[in-house]
Amino acid sequence: MAKGIKDKVVIIGMGCSKFGERWDKEADNLMVEAYTEAIADAGIDTKQIDAAWLATAIEEQHVGKSATPLAVALRLPFIPVTRVENYCASGTEAFRGAVYAVASGAADIALALGVEKLKDTGYGGLPQRGRGPLNDMTNPNASAPGSFAQLAAAYRAKHKVDAKDLKHGMAHISVKSHDNGAKNPKAHLRNKITVDTVLNAPTVAEPLGLYDCCGVSDGAACAIVATPEIARGLGKKDMVSVKALQIAVSNGLEAQHNSWDGSYFATTRIASKRAYTEAGIDKPRDQLSLIEVHDCFSVTELVTMEDLHISPEGGAIKDVLDGFYDADGKLPCQIDGGLKCFGHPIGASGLRMIYEMYLQMQGRAGERQRKQEPVFGLTHNLGGFPQRNVCAISIVGKYGA
């Protein structure tokens, strides 16, 4: 097997815009907002960036195609800039591009930035759009919640879980994320809620209610990466390095082959195993200090706890209700509020997760700072539909750990 990416690249600066309904900002304003924080944090000049990656997923709704929107917004000096799109996993995909460029030696310093400006549709939720001539002729006119809601039906059937018990587990997840988001000044949703709030909310897609769904937000997040040597030269100490970067992409098996039961993410199970191997982690439940997962919907977070091999199969509800994943639990999940409350500007989300890890590992997370600084943090960024998706996992941690 390949040696992997562990400790070859470190993060030298990160930035993140405020997420939310940014009615007064264009996508380029959001990009600059994230970038100015990141470049100041890195302590470098724009001219020192050798290459850049831009992540956007629903670009037709804001900046349009190509990497030029990033180059123009940041006035990058005619360097190589690449746009990536891989569903909602685009942010981690951009990070991967930048990290691999540095690891290969092709670039000393590289930048990854994700942005999405989703709130110009005139209605709530993600933009409704065509998916290509053949898909439009055959696919259900599915919304994102409708696609992910199906996990619940299959999970209940497989594990013989009562619908109410599953809904309670899901509700705890949302309440926890609202508690965490309330402490995050950059979060889209900062209100605390109760289990009753979740259970009594209007149904969006059976069994998901309004509070089982993450926010649809405007926002941007940015990472600047370099080799450890260059970081040291910049005077960086207590560095955060990349331990693993793995992506698994559905090949149609889940959608077409009867071996998948619909209750889990085949991609996450595979990508996380590869990531643990790459990072040298053999007991994720004990060794990970913090996780940020793609909680587009409460049920996604729930099954992901199992797919990451942290909760036993069928055991996620118990762990969730036990508070294992709460901010003061053994392994906090979404300590920044997650997609649920920090918000979900699609292209930015994977980078936003890494941003939180980076802050926490440097003791800079303010009111929501974990008492004991995390050593290994896992981010899980998922795009698509349960039956056909892209899963991107990153593990970052203290350099040398």
Binding site: M137, Q150, A154, A205, E206, H257, G262, Q387
Partner: protein
């Protein structure tokens, strides 16, 4: 080998509107409606039209039969959705008939169904005659009360017929009791008494007389008399004038379905065949700018017919719809605020539709010739992870395979003409699966393991360009098959 009716089937949509719902809404305007507020009428789901109903009636008729022998298809309706597109061609595709099949649409008269049947019985080819009608009616009109949506299919040819034709007769007369031009969406009708006296009574009895004379059968020997007529007492008056016993009058299905227009004579014929006995003589009459009369004799083969739902089975597959508002919306009789999500452009790439016709219209997937794995849609490389062979997929029809729900949702966010939008993954019992829209289902009836069947339906209506696109959807298996 004898020529005659080899098989028959029918289709009545799942939803039934109690006529009381119409009268309750419009009685203030037209108090006469209150007197008609009995029984219920069948109406199409938003995703049904004459084409989709014709496909379902044809599938019902063809259960257990080799479709390769069907050499001709005649499709009768006055509510075809297109003015210039061959509807029988769509039906032939959905049925996966051989592309050498002869296809003709028969239109423009309430006796289109009977005329198509006469033409088929005179031909040497095994012919599938389908008749379907999605009735249009102005709100608060008598037609809204009396009409219903439905379809029937009759397969005729050489073989072991269930019934043989003894004689037929036709009469043509430009008697315009009602009309609907290309400029008008709805019927314009003349006085009922004139239609009865100068129309039915003047035109039909002499036509029946010629038919019976040709068959050398007396009127009193007719066992079943199938003649659609929504005007009161017309059928019995015609029967009396023709010497047919009152007891032979067949149930016009007014109480539980409504008059299905150009399809109704064949719907009544199908309903009659379902309960007919060997030796019964069935007189079928179609009226519209003249009349057609057909006299059949039922053979002992009727006792061995294939099990299908037919008229009775489809009538039993029923959902009462008390919301007149839903009926109005499904029939585009009211302008609803459908929300911005409904604005998504549903254009169709015609080149892609043609290229993918096996998948989209015929619901044909693939079977790997190397490992036997079934998959939908067909692709170049087998989905089985232990095979992944290239170029081994043989066409395999999925439309008639039994399936069950694997996962589901009832989506209230996405735009749907009948929210919530129910869809999910269904798994075919023989192998293969597909994420697909559900139809004719209640959200609270969704459950993992629910048996499902495929149905041919409208996928999207492109109102901007006046196009509609068809595809397959999964519906709960419902209704009890009857027959031998």
């Amino acid at each position: 080998m004898t020529k005659g009716i080899l098989a028959f089937g029918a289709y009545i949509p799942w939803r039934r509107l109690p006529r009381k719902a119409i009268a309750d809404t419009h009685g203030w305007f037209n108090p006469a409606l209150k007197g008609q507020a009995k029984g219920e009428r069948a109406f199409c789901n938003w995703d049904e039209d004459a084409v989709t109903m014709a496909v379902e009636a044809a599938r019902d008729a063809l259960i257990g039969r080799d479709r390769a022998s069907v050499a001709a298809l005649r499709f009768a309706s006055t509510t075809f959705p297109f003015l210039d597109r061959l509807h029988s061609g769509i039906v032939a595709g959905a049925l996966s008939l051989d592309d050498g099949v002869s296809t003709i649409d028969v239109a423009a008269s309430q006796r289109a169904g009977t005329s198509a049947l006469i033409e088929a019985l005179g031909s040497d080819s095994e012919t599938l005659v389908v008749a379907a009608e999605k009735r249009g009616a102005k709100a608060a009109s008598p037609v809204e009360m009396s009409s219903g949506d439905g379809a029937a299919a009759i397969l005729v040819g050489e073989g072991k017929p269930l019934a043989t034709l003894l004689a037929k007769a036709s009469r043509t007369a430009d008697f315009v009791d009602h009309f609907r031009s290309v400029d008008n969406q709805f019927d314009y009708q003349w006085e009922e008494r004139w239609i009865r006296d100068a129309g039915y009574m003047a035109v039909v009895p002499p036509t029946i007389k010629r038919c019976l004379e040709a068959a050398k059968v007396a009127g009193k020997d007719v066992t079943h008399f199938c003649m659609p007529a929504t005007l009161a007492r017309v059928a019995s008056s015609v029967a009396k004038a023709a010497g047919v016993d009152d007891k032979a009058l067949c149930d016009p299905l007014h109480a539980n379905c409504g008059d299905t227009g150009a399809a109704h004579a064949l719907v009544l014929l199908a309903a009659t065949l379902e309960k007919a006995k060997p030796g019964d003589k069935i007189l079928v009459v179609g009226f519209g700018q003249g009349a057609d009369a057909l006299l059949f004799e039922v053979t002992p083969e009727i006792g061995k017919r294939a099990k299908n739902l037919g008229v009775a089975g489809h009538l039993a597959r029923r959902k009462e719809e008390t919301s007149y508002g839903r009926y109005l919306a499904f029939n585009d009789l009211i302008e609803l605020e459908r929300g911005m999500r409904s604005e998504t452009d549903k254009g169709t790439a015609l080149s892609s539709m043609w290229r993918n016709r096996e998948t989209v219209t015929s619901f044909i997937g693939g079977k790997c010739s190397k490992c036997g794995t079934l998959q939908f849609p067909k692709t170049d490389i087998c989905v089985n992870p232990n095979c992944n062979a290239i170029g081994t997929q043989e066409p395999h029809g999925f439309a008639d395979m039994a399936a069950r729900i694997k996962s589901y949702t009832a989506d209230r966010l996405t735009y749907a003409p009948d929210p919530p939008s129910c869809y999910g993954m269904i798994e075919f019992e023989e192998g293969g699966r597909v994420m697909i829209d559900f139809t004719d289902i209640d959200a609270d009836a969704l459950k993992v393991g629910q048996p499902m069947q495929m149905m041919f339906r409208i996928k999207d209506i492109d109102a901007t360009r006046g196009f509609r696109r068809y595809y397959w959807k999964a519906a709960p298996v419902a209704g009890k098959a009857q027959g031998a």
